[in-house]
Subunit: 153 residues, 2 copies
Amino acid sequence: MHQASDGIHLDSSLGYALKEASSALRSAMEEALRPLGMTITHYSCLELLAQGPGMSGSELARGAFVTRQSMHVLLQTLERDGAVERPPEDAVGKALPVRLTARGRASLAAATVAVRDVERRMLDGLGDAEQQRVLDALHRMTRSLRADAPRGA
Amino acid sequence: MHQASDGIHLDSSLGYALKEASSALRSAMEEALRPLGMTITHYSCLELLAQGPGMSGSELARGAFVTRQSMHVLLQTLERDGAVERPPEDAVGKALPVRLTARGRASLAAATVAVRDVERRMLDGLGDAEQQRVLDALHRMTRSLRADAPRGA
DNA sequence: TGGTGCATGTCAGTAGTCTGACATAGACTC
DNA sequence: GAGTCTATGTCAGACTACTGACATGCACCA
């Protein structure tokens, strides 16, 4: 019913389009990562660690857009599975740096293959200049939204 | 620690920027709707019903980017609170059209005030032409991502 | 020296969403 | 007419992420 209602006014809303694209990206990534038994936050954490070794749990949480409590439980799982390690003697103040293990790097490498394909598909119809413009616009939007809401995550 | 690690390579990834902007929008909307005791999906459902009266639960789920199971439990709450109604005699096949009540419309009106402000803030630094370009780009990205993954939700 | 503020790590409880499964209604085919 | 496919509604269980709360460590300042 109401096939026409799929696109009336909402399709002209940038906020709705943003949520739509984000949802499509999330679905595609979940689908790509599921065969590997990995969630998006799981993957994001490994990717962040590859680019910034020694990041703390709170930093990883901010980078993956979850709370530090959520990242905490994820890190427990990753540590149990031997993908990351955080030796207590490395502690800097209260922060405890996290590092990838060989196993974690292998896990990330496998996931990267699947994820790269999703991102390639997403960018399929966009030229380089357009990608840059959209990137800039998204950054400005993010900054404006956070200006009035300085949340920790 | 590692303040520099906040922006190395990931800031040049459109996928990451998309997730970042979406996360910022979600946070801002949650913050705006919380005083009203309303979640984003809650609001989305009401907004969809205002624009397309008589939508089915499955249609609402697709429009709000959740599963029809999630929308089902939400509709139970909304119906219990008297925000929506779906008289069994209106059933078209198995689909059961949902409609806003006066109470639901009032609830939506209050939420709209808060949400409009968030969207205004988000678009603050973007010109009209740029908004249109970004909107088009997001739609193309969404379509490309779904091309290979025709999921129901 | 003590106090204030802020960030981090951690524990506990809650809430929203998801996957899996089943039954039903309509459309289409043979 | 029977069979198949698709869409919808619904129930049940599991999971992920969240909010709230507390303790610790460091920086700053009076």
